[in-house]
């Protein structure tokens, strides 16, 4: 019902080629996350799919039908904006009802659907309020409510959680994931936060400078990053990238080791180093270590591992989980 296909899609703003050429298939019911640093073209790509921007070249197929030239309203998609874009002069009820009213649905039907959506989103008590009387999280839910009542072929989310505080963000992340479980509708979600991407996505699309760096499931990307960019972008703390003699000995330009793939010890190991900073999170301890002959490395240890600034420690990287990259940054 809600498959989306991009063929050779490009976008040029004046002189700037924001998106040179992109091919992408999104299956019906998938939760796809576009992730990348700011300015990578992820929002532009979403807006091209939405029809808010005209493509400069290529075609967009939604649900098997060409949609390249269709206006936004005809594409059957719903969008949740970063600023929520609620209509400030309308009550919550009218905001949610607006797309149905535009579709010319009859009054009773609208009321029923709005009530259903409000129940799902815990907004029943707020239906008569104006957006400015709501908290950030509530506004977010109204924006989602406005999207779900139309039963769109797909939902588009443009960095929807970036205006919320950290605790609320975790909550809303769960709510959106649950919503996806319930509705089983295609969702495309844009974010610059790799944690959101990892936790929510069925499929992640990593974008950089308007190009797709890699497409895959969260664990695919974590386990088999196609190149240095993806390796550095997915995973937290970041993968350690080591160049020089050590890398050459492994037959690569760059070697990557994730912080969680190192064993720390006070007694023995293959590398030695001095702890510069130890961040104790309780469950884990992240250590920044100046390793002799290698450089600065981040390592994760169990929260019980005792250490502090200035300690000498031994580190043993897990040789089976090394990532090797060639001159061009591609995985070997």
């Amino acid at each position: 019902m809600g498959s989306i296909t991009l063929r050779n899609v490009s976008k040029v703003f004046g002189e700037a080629k924001v998106i040179p050429s992109i091919d992408l298939d999104i299956e019906d019911g998938e939760f796809v996350v576009f992730v990348g640093p700011s300015g990578c073209g992820k929002s532009t790509l979403l807006r091209l799919i939405a029809g808010l921007e005209d493509v400069s070249g290529g075609e967009i197929v939604i649900d098997g039908k060409p949609a390249t030239d269709a206006p936004p309203a005809r594409r059957g998609l719903a969008m949740v904006f970063q600023s929520y874009a609620l209509y400030p002069h309308m009550s919550v009820r009218s905001n949610i009802a607006f797309p149905l009213k535009m579709a010319g649905m009859d009054k009773a039907e609208i009321d029923r659907k709005v009530a259903d959506a409000a129940k799902v989103l815990n907004l029943t008590d707020y239906l008569e309020r104006k957006p400015r009387q709501l908290s950030g999280g509530q506004r977010q839910r109204v924006a989602i409510g406005r999207a779900i009542v139309r039963q769109p072929k797909a939902f588009l989310f443009d960095e929807p959680l970036s205006n919320l505080d950290a605790a609320l963000r975790v909550n809303m992340r769960l709510e959106i994931s649950e919503l996806h479980q319930q509705l089983q509708t295609t969702m495309i979600y844009v974010t610059h936060d790799q944690v959101e991407a990892m936790t929510m996505a069925d499929k992640i699309v990593v974008l950089n400078k308007g190009r797709i760096e890699q497409v895959g499931s969260p664990l695919d990307l974590y386990r088999k990053p196609a190149n240095l960019f993806v390796a550095g972008f997915i995973g937290s703390p970041k993968m350690n990238l080591i160049e020089g003699a050590y890398a050459e000995a492994k037959g690569a330009k760059t070697v990557g080791i994730r912080p969680e793939h190192m064993v720390l010890s006070h007694d023995s190991g293959s590398w030695t180093g001095t702890v510069t900073i130890a961040e104790h999170l309780g469950s884990d301890t992240f250590m920044h270590i100046e390793v002799d002959g290698i450089g600065t490395v981040t390592a994760r240890a169990n929260g019980d591992f005792a250490c502090r600034h200035g300690d000498r420690v031994y580190i043993t990287p897990d040789e089976n989980r090394l990532y090797r990259f060639d001159e061009k940054g591609l995985a070997l």
């Binding site: 808010l52 904006f81 874009a85 209509y87 797309p99 535009m102 139309r150």
Partner: protein, 276 residues
């Protein structure tokens, strides 16, 4: 965060502010009080501030002797007429510049602003001659045309700064929600634009009501708005202080009240959005 301020300091500051405020306001207050005096009391020395025989006969006499109502209506017609005509012309322009700007939009705006800076004497003579030959001198139509044109840049600018503040994402949301252009305008844009349009309307009525270069030069009697009518008191009738005061009070009261309601918009409108 409000700072802690001692009550004594607050009292002293209040006393100073109130004294100066009343001093500034005094000419208006004095005009208002004088309008209820008899002519003899109005010029009495020492002047009486409150304890005199209050009378409203000046108001009746102003109307009787000079057909005040005609001039009042001239002011109403001219200021409302030029404001609505101006809005009619300016709304599409401001709309287009705010919602589909091009590289030249800024230049057009700056150019419009610059037209406002031409001193009226640069245009007085040709406009006077054109009006004389076209039979527009001393007509309401003529004044409406001129006031529309002189205030058009301010109207366009003010509307532009208001429209600019309507977030683009909301219009996009409406488009995603399936609103066609006419529906987008009716249900989303208009309700969000109305406050800005209302502020512009208010400020422009004030400016047109008080405009005193073109109205003085292009009207004489028939179409003279209150600015020009009051000017006729400059001599020798101006010596009738009580009647002058009554006429003045009636001329400024409606605008004073409107003005007080539009303080904020006034700043924005008169500084072309440079100070908000």
């Amino acid at each position: 965060m409000a700072r802690k301020v001692s009550t004594r300091r607050k009292l002293i500051m209040s006393a100073i502010a109130w004294t100066l405020g009343i001093l500034i306001f005094f000419p208006i207050l004095w005009t208002f009080i004088t309008s209820f005096k008899t002519e003899a009391e109005a010029v009495a020395s020492p002047p009486s501030f409150l304890f005199f025989h209050w009378t409203t006969e000046n108001y009746a006499q102003v109307q009787e002797r000079s057909d005040y109502f005609l001039h009042f209506m001239n002011s109403v017609v001219v200021s409302l007429g030029s404001t609505f005509l101006g809005l009619l012309i300016a709304i599409p322009a401001a709309w287009a510049m705010a919602f589909s700007p091009t590289k030249r939009t800024k230049d057009v705006l700056m150019w419009m602003l610059s037209t406002k800076m031409m001193p009226p004497v640069g245009a007085l003579i040709p406009i006077y001659l054109i009006f004389r030959d076209g039979g527009l001198l001393d007509t309401r139509t003529g004044l409406v045309i001129v006031l529309t044109l002189i205030n058009l840049p301010i109207i366009v600018w003010m509307l532009y700064t208001y429209f600019k503040e309507i977030p683009g994402e909301i219009l996009e949301a409406a488009r995603m929600d399936g609103a066609s252009l006419p529906k987008e305008i009716v249900y989303v844009l208009t309700p969000m634009a109305v406050p800005g349009i209302a502020s512009t309307l208010l400020l422009n009525i004030i400016l047109s009501w008080n405009e005193a270069f073109w109205t003085l030069n292009l009207s004489a009697s028939k179409a003279a708005p209150l600015t020009a009518f009051i000017a006729s008191y400059s001599s020798p009738e101006g010596l009738f202080y009580a009647k002058l005061s009554a006429a003045s009070t009636m001329a400024i009261a409606p605008i004073l009240i409107m003005g007080w309601f539009s303080q904020k918009q006034l700043v924005r409108g008169l500084t072309f959005g440079a100070v908000k």
